[in-house]
Symmetry: C2
Subunit: 660 residues, 2 copies
Amino acid sequence: MTDTRTAAAAPLHLSPTDRTLARPVAPDGPRRGLGVGELVLDGGGFWGRLQHTNAQATLAHCVEWMERLGWIANFDRVAAGTTDGDRPGWQFSDSEVYKLLEALAWEHGRTGDASVDATFEALVDRVAAAQDDDGYLNTCFGHAGQPDRYSDLSSGHELYCTGHLLQAAVARLRTVGADRLVEVARRAADHVCREFGELGRDGICGHPEIELGLAELGRALDEPRYTEQARLFVERRGRGTLAPIALLSPAYFQDDVPVRDADVWRGHAVRALYLAAGAVDVAVDTADAELLAAVERQWTRSVERRTYLTGGMGSRHQDEGFGDDWELPADRAYCETCAGVASVMVSWRLLLATDDVRYADLIERTLYNVVATSPRSDGRAFFYANPLQQREPGADVRPDAVNPRAEGGVRAPWFDVSCCPTNVARTLASWQAYAATVEGDVVSLVLHASADLRVGLDDGGELALRVRTGYPADGRVRVEVLDAPDRPVTLRLRVPHWAQGATLAGPGEPVPAPAAPGWAEVRATFGAGDVVTLDLPTAPRFTWPHPRVDAVRGTVAVERGPLVLCVESVDLPDGVAIEDVRLDASVPPRAEGDGAVVTVAVVAPTGAEPGRPPFSAHPASSAPDAAAASTVATTEVALVPYHRWAERGPSTMRVFVPTL
Amino acid sequence: MTDTRTAAAAPLHLSPTDRTLARPVAPDGPRRGLGVGELVLDGGGFWGRLQHTNAQATLAHCVEWMERLGWIANFDRVAAGTTDGDRPGWQFSDSEVYKLLEALAWEHGRTGDASVDATFEALVDRVAAAQDDDGYLNTCFGHAGQPDRYSDLSSGHELYCTGHLLQAAVARLRTVGADRLVEVARRAADHVCREFGELGRDGICGHPEIELGLAELGRALDEPRYTEQARLFVERRGRGTLAPIALLSPAYFQDDVPVRDADVWRGHAVRALYLAAGAVDVAVDTADAELLAAVERQWTRSVERRTYLTGGMGSRHQDEGFGDDWELPADRAYCETCAGVASVMVSWRLLLATDDVRYADLIERTLYNVVATSPRSDGRAFFYANPLQQREPGADVRPDAVNPRAEGGVRAPWFDVSCCPTNVARTLASWQAYAATVEGDVVSLVLHASADLRVGLDDGGELALRVRTGYPADGRVRVEVLDAPDRPVTLRLRVPHWAQGATLAGPGEPVPAPAAPGWAEVRATFGAGDVVTLDLPTAPRFTWPHPRVDAVRGTVAVERGPLVLCVESVDLPDGVAIEDVRLDASVPPRAEGDGAVVTVAVVAPTGAEPGRPPFSAHPASSAPDAAAASTVATTEVALVPYHRWAERGPSTMRVFVPTL
């Protein structure tokens, strides 16, 4: 263990041969992702800036809040045997500490920053001290004054917390190798296997996550018992064994239909997606094609009918859950940040398992428009829910207040249920894991960002690349080869589905050739200085809702490259209410900054009858010609990227703008 | 007490001089409603049938379920001192027993049915036995093994339950006079005044209702202490004294803004509306014009911006609450049945206080389209929520199962939280209270239904009328005078706001004259045999959403008279999905049965991209011309009254149909 920590203390950029350590969430399929040391983001780019802020502000912010609220001290209380009495935090607060540990592990792996490692180790001291002799580790159950272990599988979140502990250990395994936290995780996993194995309790956790943690740890440690336990949990689900939670149906925690039989995601979105991610891991590691096909089927229907333009998932506040097909209200969109993180985890696994570019497209959509939307630009406040319309300006949030989880149009520093900040933190700290895949001698750039890469090829050698791009505002991606083996290798660049008219120019083909959406490929014996240039058209474009999406009928959205744009009240002329803006779709949007400018009419609302519900006999109120007749002004309005809305004070906002 | 019960056992039609007993929810203003004995509904009419089913089926149904679940036996356990151990039902289950008592009291008052009275008295035996010596009466708090009295004002519902007890006693007072239940209520009210009076706890209940109960009982018993206590509770609210409930804001229970300062209803709809009703009672009884104006202001904005076409209130499942202005999703409309009942209670009080016909119009809209929608035609199953769109056919409900409260498109026999069945029962049993108002010698027919009336005039004498009508399907309302004083009196008939082109013919004016929406009035010295005929145009009509109601932009609804109609999948041609129906608004709807027939196009859905969220670059997907181009069939479709949807097996449904 000492060796490992010594190694970790040195500035660390993993060598290509470390790539078994490099896969944060990669299943044992033919493809792998990047290790956090194989890519260095340019600090001035879109993701480089976010990752920098995460490192400089968010990690410390999470430590501070959890110290302040006593969520970390809960571990000390267990260690000291002083658990009698009120315990701060929800029953799942341990998981926030573990997600923070995971984020710290990735961050340290990425930069080798010794202070990050010191913070990590100090937390591990306190966590490890709370572990019971038999490996059980939870600060809410099983000690003096607490409910019995596993006495409330439906709501207790014990296995959920353990799953996050295991994921944190995997981050450590894949950056510095086995260490103290890995040993803690191993003992916790062994405890779970004893307690819930074939011969143990026939139980599952109300919140999936343990499946994921066990599968990842099993893979990282080459321990088939853990994979088998993950498989058991996946198979047990959907058989109605969880005690009901008042007013919620078994679909809430996916205990209504077995995973391999389900056609669509339903119920609580984060639960559904963590479960799906774990199921893909199990399917890949056990070569269970039927199970993999089931998750692909669920992904397809859920994406095509239950997913927002932003990639956001979850249409209902009531249960933080998926709605029915086509139920996609803009104003009450839940689109929990954590569901965005979880969706990326699912799609990433499916991409590695299948190479299907549609999974990569959804990852990009979700990263730009959900995950990147959550943190405020200073990294110290977050959106929990990510609606696509804000009707009332959000109320100011006190910087020292714990907020209810989902309301308001203002980012909050911390939440009563505060799952999102640490989920954002661990995702941003491991961002490069999702940037490319490697299969044999094929390197595929999944996400376009200014970065230097040094990627180990599966069949030996390495490919070093320098990517420079102004993406997402600018669509030119220039890839310069810094170093390459002296034999043909394949470089693939993803052409997103919206990039009609993209072109690719390679070293042997200086004239750009059309590049259809999908993978644009150059196979060559590259030499240092060779350049591959992808040009993606990022002019702003109109995007129309499917006619079955009732909530936004008669509206249009504007996208630019991977970015969803929005109109925000602070950009409207004085006195104009956002409700009265009608977009003139006969005038194409034009690019401006990283957003766009559109032409709108301001209409006078009509059709109201005093003292009646807002429905009337006057067809004028919704007929296009009548709207035109009631136009009181025509003007241009700037649209901004959705991920940056609400950065300029309380405002109203909409992604989908009614058309003239 | 014996006298009272003997009197009650005889068939009872209150004489006109009993009208002080006759006002179920009438404040001490210039106008009064009818006593349940002043009007006898024709059994074959719309409301006559509902009232009959309520009497024959629903009342017994409620008794059976509450016996089976132990909610009534909770009172026995208190009386027997055996409260230690698990208690069945939520903390507010006592209120269901009280609302049932209220319904039984009205029903007995209406018909004099001795068996109804026997059921009532048997329940009172058990309730009275559970009352503590100091008047406290609650089966969930304050006894062995239970939390302390008033130890959880935010969620405990103790005062809420007491409020319903008082309302039940008022129903008794206003049908048979003071009796045993009234004595129980008086002791309970005295207890509340001691505990929460000026010198007592400065507390309020998380769920308003005690205000209403105290105000009504104070009025019925001429006891100003109760009115004063109601006033105190109203004034204390909105000052943030209630302990927060996790994840809910103070607006949830209207503890965010004082009643007289608020501009709009917000938070939990039933809470907001019970509070508003109590506030009107207090305002009228204490001549507080500012408070009355505040509720009128709240009513106006809430109706104009937060109320559905059906009159339904509550846009959110999460907190069963109002949404923001213009937030009126059809599919996730909550429109709780109890909120409909409560809305009628508020509007009724405002109508009596102001004579403003808009309150009467909303009462009618809500009664036909929310309250009448809840009970299944056999009176043994109910809707809890009343959405205006059903995307997935409801799952069959087992007749012996307790259901979660709000989901599904199928009426359920009982709910985990089962406030709606008894609320429907008490409303239907006292329906005639809302049928007319009396002020001096002015009798105003508020609701049109076949019935015989014998109404005592405030300044002496009585007016006996026979109303015959096929309303709501048929708009002719024929009022024959059976008996009248030998002096001029005024008969007013309400012309609903939608009835453009109505006419009125009176005894002196055999040629129908135009009758504008509002009150159509005939003042005459009526003689027996005189006939007044009101003709209301009930041809089906299109109704368009206000342009700010985003959720149903580009759609139209069809109404007929006071009825909202809907299209139900069982009425569509085989193979046609309700999502693909487009209404051709260039063809006027025509009447058929009690519904209508419209012309629709069936379109082929376009714009989907496999593996992407349902938004695309193809403007075709929502442009009218493209929809026309994709029409695969044109057909006529029957629309049925919304209140009768889901009576023919599981179906999908929509009130707002996208236009071609």
